[in-house]
């Protein structure tokens, strides 16, 4: 079944909602009083971007983009680990 007809209608509408969510996250990153607030909203931003890239990989019908969304999701987790390790131990353990 070719799902291109519903993706052409559906993905632009959903991308508007995603763009509003991303701008609100960016507002929190800029406004965030403390550093953990920024890290938290960058975290949510990363996972949100992973979903959006997954959606685009459906929309454009290519299978290469979905690997990028996996990498972004893993990067968002590693970002938390490094930042919190730096908060406590002031070194990154390289």
């Amino acid at each position: 079944m070719n799902t291109q007809w519903i993706l052409d209608i559906y993905v632009p509408i959903i991308s508007i909602v995603f763009i509003i969510a991303v701008t609100l996250y960016i507002v929190r990153v800029l406004k965030g009083p403390t550093i953990p607030d920024m890290v938290l909203s960058i975290d949510c931003l990363g996972y949100d971007l992973a979903v959006f890239i997954g959606l685009l990989s459906l929309y454009y019908g290519t299978s290469f983009l979905i690997i990028g969304s996996l990498m972004i999701a893993l990067w968002a987790f590693i970002f938390d680990v490094y930042v919190s390790k730096y908060f406590i131990k002031k070194e990154l353990g390289e």
Partner: protein, 123 residues
């Protein structure tokens, strides 16, 4: 036009819509809550409801979309694995972050009634 494909398509679209709504609510919540620890409640809505569920929806739609050819099974597998990894990684990530923020005293517990962890640390 198998009926099962219509059902799977509808299910995928519903999952992605739920994800988009959860994401919107989480981003509004992230801006409106008073301090860092309360904002983490909104962050989990944003990560689990806003990232895991739509990725499952993307996987479901990929399963029946023929324009991907034989790669549709790969897109399905990778999106389900990404959803699973986010389900595992995001709570641990935010937990580590909260522990570091509290221990390094970076995020003030502003509207505070009682902070048991602080009392336990003083002992």
């Amino acid at each position: 036009m198998l009926i099962i494909e219509e059902i799977v398509l509808g299910l995928g679209v519903v999952f992605i819509t739920i994800g988009a709504i959860c994401d919107l609510l989480a981003s509004i919540g992230l801006n409106k809550f008073p301090n860092f620890y309360v904002r983490m409640h909104a962050a989990t809505i944003g990560t689990i409801g806003g990232a895991v569920i739509p990725l499952i929806g993307v996987g479901l739609i990929a399963l029946i979309s023929d324009q991907l050819g034989t790669y549709k099974y790969m897109v399905f597998g990778v999106s389900i694995i990404t959803a699973l990894l986010i389900m595992i990684a995001s709570p641990t990530g935010t937990h580590i972050l909260a522990n570091a923020a509290h221990k390094a005293k970076l995020a003030p517990v502003q509207p505070k009634v009682v902070d048991k962890l602080e009392e336990a640390e003083e002992k």
